[in-house]
Symmetry: C2
DNA sequence: ATGAGTTACTATGAATTTAGTAGTTAGTCA
DNA sequence: TGACTAACTACTAAATTCATAGTAACTCAT
């Protein structure tokens, strides 16, 4: 099996991550840190305001400012004014941000299997009431990812 | 000695996350950084050896040592001796490590939709030859994550 | 009208982590 | 003996992260 990664050996760093042919690497350039992912989680849970994120995460305000700006700049969140006097902005999910939810559930599913136990937050389908059990499948074959051999094709 | 100290600090730091009731947070305590995820990606692509990871990622050896030990300690990789003279070890995926593949594909799928374009690495089903199109669904309802309302239940 | 409270930040400096390069260990091979 | 390989460790500098304090622009109660 050939390598997924680029063949340059020297100039791979985090800044160049977003130019790599591997879409995993590209995505990780934006959300490849725990704070960003946890902000996305909280945003999906309904949080929108600076102080709500800060209190929920216990993150330093400088960090939060940086992460929110980055996620906004990258189009996962959108800054929206909710008060003119005093001027106040909140951060709401964009479509790209909402599309990130499957990633969070895939991570959570891994955690349930391999880091479960004790008190855990659980997710239920609001209509059927059944607990959500996320599986990532290939839409083409319907097979869960990892159950069938895969061929990796790098460009050029 | 530097490494030992930094490992200790990281463990303290991670204990904040790994004891949380949210399984996403718990998981991110282990793999919530880009290097760890990229190592997991490369491991799935077939890399096993220190120098292969190092060359593929352009990561500093100190970083790589730290990340490989952490992933090994957390049970996503396993150290295996492949030569006694000279003594040489390689890192192979455990079951927990293999179970991480859906997370990587979910991230890749997000990237394809929102950071696609240009030259990208692609994945095909080795048997059918069709390109893999990962979707994360709820096994109970069959509905893609994000298409139905969810109820979050935190422990008391 | 003054002072307390709210919200979304910035400023600052110390602690910690990361990056980059060089060197070490334990060998093999010619 | 000397060159070479693989898997690291040592060291230092640069960058990032953390924690705390402070600020801007208001509102509201006394």
């Amino acid at each position: 099996m050939n390598l997924v990664v680029s063949h340059y050996q020297k100039d791979i760093d985090m800044k160049k991550l977003s130019n790599q042919p591997c879409l995993i690497a590209r995505s990780l350039a934006l959300v490849g840190d725990a704070w960003s992912m946890l902000i996305m989680r909280d945003a999906h849970a309904g949080l929108t305001r600076f102080d709500d994120f800060r209190k929920s995460l216990g993150i330093a305000p400088t960090m939060l400012t940086g992460r929110l700006s980055a996620l906004t700049e990258e189009g996962l969140l959108e800054k929206r004014r909710y008060s003119d006097r005093p001027p106040r902005d909140e951060y709401v999910l964009t479509e790209a941000g909402r599309d990130f939810l499957p990633v969070l559930f895939a991570i959570g599913a891994w955690g349930r299997k391999h880091r479960g136990g004790g008190e855990v937050t659980r997710f239920f389908d609001a209509e059927t009431g059944t607990e959500i059990d996320p599986v990532t499948i290939d839409r083409a074959t319907g097979a869960p990812i990892g159950t069938r051999p895969i061929r990796i094709v790098a460009p050029e």
